[in-house]
Symmetry: C2
């Protein structure tokens, strides 16, 4: 099995980390649109246009599947990508919704969704969860988390103030959906902030669960091949990949 | 006089505000590359490529001059833009260097330059100031200021922690160069942090000074025409312009 993983930039590496850990693929082709990142503050039509261009790029490889690691793209452009693609396209939003539903037995559970402005404005997680009878939903865009992670600020005063800024009026949730692939790098801090009882939903782990449950993936591949492409400076992406994937 | 103002996104509006205030032009055509913003974390070659595309866009208008409001573009792509353009191209870095030199009589003055990662890595301000015999230079990238301004966080705990994070080891400067067009929106907070003795160098005011001193601009135009273009969602840009320019 040969898979393409698409993200607006480097965030999708957290999904690749989960895929590598579970050895579901023989070869992973990663494409980050680093020349135009971030997507999370951009317009729906722009996001769709860029996503279709990514599908065209992936046509250079004979892929068995495309995983959209970016929550913003998954929220806005999945159906358009499917129309253009010649292989299945799956996204982290659907996977995150199912992982949340599988983890929470009580439909009255309080679920908090965080993500970029665009992802939260799309209501994609809410719509998915409501279809599965979850009604107790809160959501808030937390766009500052992205540059904080990229600045490698994972704790300390700035982050404490930022957490307070975003969450001071929020009830402690039963589940927190990390609706942006940068956010798993803040897992420890978020878990400390909300406490051990809050379940964190991680896009990468959700995709693995989705593939195993919905697509019956079970075969394991040792030492999967990994190739990185970027719309600018692929060397910088490869360096960050070394750090994030093998740290 | 008809001028083009180019920025990676919305930041250049602070420069337009200065130009409007001083009534130097009959017509201002603003172009923000909102579909690919920000440039400050991107690669040199990408920045040059995008800047040349902006020059091509401006060829749709018969311009007398292009003002590069973006510090990152001014630092990396000015000579390439000049090669492509059919009118003069001036940038905020040269203007900021001259404004600083004009304001500081003592060549031993301590100057702190802040900007995006790309602008600071270019050393463009340092090189310009060293040519004018200023040697006491410090610089630091302050990339978090950009999303903070875009989140409309202009003071409070997050900003206080961020100021401490960036400036805790910096001497109080005689002049602080706001080397990113977003930063004038933090002027009040930065002035409070460093104290009244620190002179803030503002790209927009620097450009006006540059045009008046170096280009002998003196004619005033009442009610200049203003047109906004963006590579995505021009309506959003126009809304922010209404807010920033006329607030």
């Amino acid at each position: 099995m040969k898979i393409g993983v698409f993200d607006s930039g480097i965030g999708g590496l957290t999904v690749v980390k989960s895929l590598l850990h579970h050895q579901l693929f023989e070869e992973i082709i990663y494409f980050g649109d680093t020349a135009r990142v971030p997507y999370g503050s951009k317009d729906k039509n722009t996001i769709i246009r860029y996503a279709i261009e990514a599908v065209e790029f992936f046509k250079n490889f004979e892929l068995d599947m495309i995983v959209v690691a970016c929550n913003t793209v998954s929220a806005y452009a999945l159906s358009e990508m499917r129309e253009s693609a010649t292989c299945p396209v799956i996204g982290v939003v659907d996977a995150g919704v199912l992982a949340t539903a599988n983890a929470l037995k009580d439909k009255k559970s309080n679920i908090l969704i965080i993500g970029t402005k665009a992802t939260i404005a799309s209501n994609a997680y809410e719509e998915g969860l409501k279809k599965l009878q979850f009604q107790n939903l809160q959501s808030t865009p937390t766009p500052l988390f992205v540059p904080l992670v990229e600045e490698e600020i994972f704790d300390g005063d700035i982050l404490t103030s930022t957490l307070h800024h975003y969450f001071k009026n929020k009830k402690t949730p039963d589940a927190l959906i990390l609706g942006c692939t940068h956010f798993p790098l803040l897992s420890k801090t978020l878990q400390n902030y909300f406490g051990e009882k809050t379940l964190l939903i991680h896009s990468g782990d959700a995709i693995v669960e989705f593939l195993e449950k919905e697509f019956y993936f079970s075969k394991k591949y040792r030492d999967p091949k990994l190739k990185f492409f970027a719309s600018e400076n692929p060397d910088a992406l490869r360096k960050i990949a070394q750090k994030w994937l093998y740290a």
